[in-house]
Every structure is written in structure tokens, then in C-alpha cells.
């Protein structure tokens, strides 16, 4: 499903070049649950953004479902992000003036779905993350864990083939973190492909495969080939 070949990402800062990702080779199959670990500044988020089609590599190739992402126009990438990828962020990134329901609806709006269907699907998604009684709450009326669950509902709403979570438990206490991880495990069992960045070993242990990054290079890939059958 995901195939990174020879991937490089550099930032030019004056006459200095910063090698953030260096010759990355990575293959992730459908329905894998992968954790990416590594020290701060090692390039984990950069790698995630690349996989999420938010960022483009300096060189190398990224095939998503067999198509080269670099060759796609911006509009096409927006469509891919909308339909195939669900993002979960450490800081939740909910729009503060919108209710939980409307936040969850956003991807459907960009997907051109009619209002009635949007409401139905948003309600179902919120039910799935256990927030059916918080539909009309504003983000600042929700706890951190609840906010993250709204964000997960938003990531799920378009039934994406890939869920990307960058430190989803990073801003949560351990109890809420556990709830989120149980939710992810459930999604994994239902067939979702999950990639998750984390600093915590306990969190990483929910995943079947742990990729370790240091200084922009993959130095360890434990559990590779250990694909869970559907």
C-alpha cells in the first residue's frame, strides 16, 4: 500500500543544508499497525507528513496504492487526503467555534457530501468513539481525551484506507491515552491501516510493528513481515 523508495528530505537554511530524512526505504502493507519511534528531531513527523501527502520529498519516490504521489497535482493530493487518509494530531486541531458534530463533518463538506448524509455519518462516527452524548458540545466543553476522540471520529468519517496519528496520546493522561489506544486497536481489527508516531514504549506496544528512526534514517524495523491477516 505504501512504498517509500530512496526518500530524501532536506531543508536549506542559508548555505546550510539540513538532512531531515536520508535514504528512507519503507514498505507498509494494508491493515498493518505501525508505530514510529525515535528521539526528538529525528524526522518522524516529517516522515508522517510525507506519507500523508502534506509534504513532498526532495528526492526519491513515494507510491501510494501504486501511484507516484510526486507527480500528482495539488488538487489531486487534496482529494487523496480527503478520501484516503485520516489524520490525528497531538494537539487535536479542532476548530474551536464549531461543535463536535460540525468538526467531524468537515471532511465530508470537502468531499461534497449532502448535509443530511453528513449529519447521519457524523453522528455514527461520534457514536463509534463513544461520544454520542457530546454531539453539540464545543471543543472547550470537552476533556482532552474526548477532544482526541472527536478528532479520531473526524479521521474516520470518510472511511479512509490509512490513519496517520502523530503522537495521538502525547497531550493526554495515561487513562485517556489507554482509551485512545484501545480505540486504535479496535480500528485495526476492523481492517484499518494505522501508522502512529509515539515516544512511549507502552503506546508503541499496541502496534504490531515498530519502526525506529534516528537522524533521518530507519535504524530498526521490529516486527516487519508480521502482517496480521484480515
Amino acid at each position: 500500500m505504501i512504498h517509500l523508495k530512496n526518500l530524501d528530505k532536506q531543508y536549506k537554511n542559508g548555505d546550510q543544508t539540513l538532512h531531515v530524512l536520508n535514504d528512507i526505504h519503507l514498505k507498509i502493507e494494508e491493515n498493518e499497525f505501525v508505530a514510529i519511534m525515535g528521539p526528538s528531531g529525528s524526522g518522524k513527523s516529517t516522515l508522517m507528513n510525507m506519507i500523508g501527502c502534506l509534504d513532498q520529498p526532495t528526492s526519491g519516490e513515494y507510491l501510494l496504492h501504486g501511484t507516484d504521489v510526486a507527480s500528482q497535482p495539488e488538487k489531486e493530493l487534496a482529494k487523496v487526503r480527503n478520501a484516503q487518509i485520516g489524520f490525528v494530531f497531538q494537539q487535536f486541531h479542532l476548530l474551536p467555534k464549531l461543535s463536535a458534530m460540525m468538526n467531524v463533518e468537515l471532511p465530508l463538506i470537502y468531499g461534497g457530501i449532502k448535509k443530511k448524509e453528513r449529519k447521519e455519518r457524523a453522528r455514527l462516527a461520534l457514536e463509534k468513539v463513544g461520544l454520542e452524548d457530546r454531539v453539540n458540545h464545543l471543543p472547550n466543553q470537552l476533556s482532552g481525551g474526548q477532544k482526541q476522540r472527536v478528532a479520531i471520529a473526524r479521521a474516520l468519517i470518510n472511511e479512509p484506507s490509512l490513519i496517520l496519528a502523530d503522537e495521538p496520546t502525547g497531550a493526554l493522561d495515561s487513562k485517556s491515552g489507554t482509551q485512545i489506544m484501545e480505540l486504535f486497536t479496535q480500528l485495526h481489527h476492523e481492517g484499518a491501516t494505522l501508522i502512529m508516531v509515539t515516544h512511549e514504549q507502552e503506546v508503541a506496544d499496541y502496534a504490531r510493528r515498530i519502526v525506529t528512526v534516528r537522524d533521518g534514517e530507519i535504524i530498526k524495523d521490529r516486527g516487519h513481515e508480521n502482517v496480521v491477516p484480515r
Binding site: 502534506l54 487534496a78 487526503r81 464549531l98 470537502y110
Partner: protein, 399 residues
């Protein structure tokens, strides 16, 4: 993403910053409001001026005597101007003429017991009411029977009544003396449709047929002619002046105010003033537009993370561009609509006070709406484009 969804999204976001949205609109409101007001007042004033000069649109024109240049400042030059009964009859019989409205006037005293009041005495017939509408605030107006029978009756204007009598209703039935001739007061008259700026003249109306009793002549001093139709005005005015100049033994010339020229002159003046003030209002609209741009730029910066998030959820550049453009256009359009209502309100108040027609025209309103939308697009483009071009990752990382 449907256009309607974009509009709803924009409205929601404007609504969530109500105070700011309102303040941002202020420049547009004032700009559009003043354009509407100025144009309406200009048009109203023009209509009033035109109707005063050009016979109120009832195809009437005034004939006047123009002495030769060297006698222009000489009062006596006008003394011999007179329209005889034969002149008036001849003019009345011209095919292009509907009716002749002639009157004589003089300034003299009206005496009641020991009191005397200076007034304009107008010798009229019932046609005179076609030049100017009158109402009787007490008693009645002169009518054709008063004229035909040469009755010695008068109506007084309120100003004269106030000078001679203790109360308005005391005047009717009393006898006043004009040039030593007694007249019965049958009513108190008022001129209708007086414009805001017109003087109230102390005047006395009496039947034309009693004029010879006072001054020994039935010649009239003033001549207005009503043509059959607007198209006949030109023909009638030529016929009348030709006739009078042929008859005349005076060294000067009878002329007619050329209404077309006057109307053109008036609209030129009002157009220039409207354009100047409109230009100033346009500048305030420009400043309002810059204000909108400024706030939209602030809003883009404030909402950088929102933009990054929306992009990560699948918003295209076009979606983001449209979102911000709709916000700025909505701001200026609503501002424009409020401005139009405000401007129409002010124009309406002014026209009520000044007593001229209320002239907020549909084209001006549409122009106001169109122009404020245009301002929204022009000044929204820069911020919207800035938002659309944001890099999603950097936007998401924005603190």
C-alpha cells in the same frame, strides 16, 4: 464542496466575530450610505429646480420682456410692457396653445380700519391656479364666477391676515381697502408645494375683472402660456414671441425661457456636484475596502492553523481561496446593504424636510450593491490568496 456550504461557512465565521465584522463593515456602510444619500439628494434637488424653472412639467412657459442692453438696468424700460386683452385673445386662439395664464400685479397697502399691510396685489383669473396650487385655510378661494361677475372680493395670504387681524378666522367677511376701493375678504389662501427655500410672500389675490377699478387698465403684466403638449412648447413659444414682437413698439424683445437649456444647465450643475461629492464618498469606500483587506489579513494570520487543518482534511487551494473571498464579499455586501438602507433613510428624511421627491433609484441601489461586492472581491483577493497559498505543514505548526 458546494457553493452554498462555502457561504454558510463564511457566514458562521463572520458571525463568530460579530463585533469585528460590524466594525469592519463600518467603512463600507459609510461609503455606500453617503453615495446613496448624495445621489438621491442631488436628484431630488434637480427635480425641484427643474420643476420650478420649467413650469412643473405641465407644459407651461413664461414670456418675458428683454430690454436692449443699454436699457437693461433701467427700471422704466419695463413700464410699458403690457399684454392687452386683444393680445391675450390672439394668443389663446393659436392652435398650439391650450390656455393663457396672465396676471397683473402691483405692490401697495391693504388697509383694515387703522391697520395697513404692504402686499403684492395679484389680479388673476381661475387659470392662475394651474401655475400654482392653492388651498384655502379658511373661507374659500376665488373662482370663475368672482372673475366673470367682477365681484369686489379678495383672498389674503396668511402673512397679510396676521398683520391686519387678531385671528385667522376673523378675516373672512371683513372689508379691506385697496387703493381706496373696498373689497370683501372671502378667504385665506396658502400656496401649495412651496419648496423649502421659497419665500413666503405677503400677497392678495383679487379677480382680474376688478383690476381696472384700481388702476384704470385691463392690461396684464405677466404672461404664461400653456402649450397643448410637451411637443407643442417649442412651436407655441415661437408663435407667441413672434406675435408679440410684431405688435411691439418697444425697443426690446419678448422672449421665452428655453426650458431645455435650463434643464441641461441644472442637470450639469447637479451632475458636477454629485460627481465631486460622489468621488469623496468613493474614496471613503476605498478606505473601507482597505479596512476590509486589513482585517482579512489579520484573520488569515489568526486562522493559520485552521487553514492548515482544513488542507489536511482535503480542502484544495480553491476551497480556501473561495472561503476567504466569500467572507470578504459577504462583509462588504452586507455593509453595502446596510449603507443603502441608511442612505435611503437619510435621503428620505432630507426630502421630507425639504419637500422634494424621494429619489433613490433602483439603478443606484444596484450599483451600490454591485460596487460593494466588487470592493469585497478586489480587497479580499490578496488575503484569500495568501491563505490559499499557505503550506499545510507550516500552517499546522503555526503557534
Amino acid at each position: 464542496m458546494s457553493f452554498l456550504d462555502s457561504v454558510k461557512m463564511a457566514l458562521r465565521s463572520l458571525w463568530s466575530h460579530r463585533l469585528r465584522s460590524m466594525l469592519t463593515m463600518l467603512g463600507i456602510i459609510i461609503g455606500v450610505g453617503s453615495v446613496i444619500t448624495v445621489v438621491a439628494i442631488g436628484k431630488g434637488g434637480e427635480a425641484v429646480l427643474t420643476s420650478q424653472f420649467a413650469g412643473g412639467g405641465n407644459n407651461t412657459f413664461e414670456v418675458y420682456y428683454m430690454p436692449p442692453d443699454e436699457e437693461l438696468m433701467d427700471y422704466d424700460a419695463y413700464d410699458d410692457v403690457a399684454y392687452t386683452t386683444e393680445d391675450l385673445r390672439a394668443i389663446q386662439e393659436m392652435p398650439s396653445v391650450n390656455q393663457v395664464i396672465a396676471y397683473a400685479y402691483n405692490s401697495t397697502n391693504v388697509v383694515y380700519h387703522q391697520e395697513a399691510a404692504g402686499a403684492q396685489i395679484l389680479a388673476i383669473n381661475e387659470n392662475y391656479y394651474d401655475l400654482n396650487e392653492f388651498t384655502a385655510s379658511s373661507g374659500r378661494l376665488l373662482d370663475n364666477r368672482d372673475v366673470d361677475n367682477g365681484r369686489r372680493v379678495v383672498t389674503l395670504s396668511t402673512g397679510v391676515v396676521e398683520e391686519l387681524f387678531a385671528a385667522n378666522d376673523e378675516a373672512v367677511g371683513q372689508i379691506v381697502n385697496i387703493e381706496g376701493v373696498p373689497f370683501e375678504v372671502i378667504g385665506v389662501h396658502e400656496r401649495e408645494n412651496q419648496s423649502f427655500f421659497a419665500f413666503q410672500v405677503d400677497e392678495v389675490l383679487l379677480p382680474q375683472s376688478s383690476w381696472p377699478m384700481l388702476y384704470g387698465t385691463d392690461n396684464m403684466d405677466m404672461l404664461n402660456v400653456q402649450a397643448n403638449s410637451a411637443d407643442d412648447i417649442e412651436i407655441a413659444s415661437h408663435a407667441v414671441t413672434n406675435y408679440l414682437n410684431d405688435q411691439s413698439t418697444l425697443s426690446g424683445e419678448y422672449q421665452v425661457l428655453n426650458m431645455e437649456e435650463i434643464e441641461q444647465g441644472i442637470s450639469q450643475v447637479t451632475n458636477v456636484t454629485t460627481m465631486i461629492i460622489g468621488g469623496v464618498a468613493g474614496i471613503s469606500l476605498l478606505v473601507g475596502g482597505i479596512g476590509v483587506m486589513n482585517i482579512m489579513l489579520v484573520s488569515v494570520t489568526e486562522r493559520t492553523r485552521e487553514i492548515g487543518l482544513r488542507k489536511s482534511l482535503g480542502a484544495t487551494r480553491g476551497n480556501i481561496l473561495l472561503q476567504f473571498l466569500i467572507e470578504s464579499v459577504t462583509l462588504t455586501t452586507i455593509g453595502g446593504l446596510i449603507g443603502i438602507m441608511l442612505g435611503a433613510g437619510v435621503a428620505n428624511t432630507v426630502s421630507l424636510i425639504a419637500g422634494w421627491p424621494f429619489l433613490v433609484s433602483i439603478p443606484v441601489v444596484l450599483l451600490g450593491v454591485g460596487f460593494s461586492m466588487f470592493v469585497g472581491i478586489v480587497f479580499g483577493l490578496l488575503p484569500a490568496n495568501k491563505a490559499a497559498k499557505l503550506d499545510p505543514i507550516e500552517a499546522l505548526r503555526h503557534e
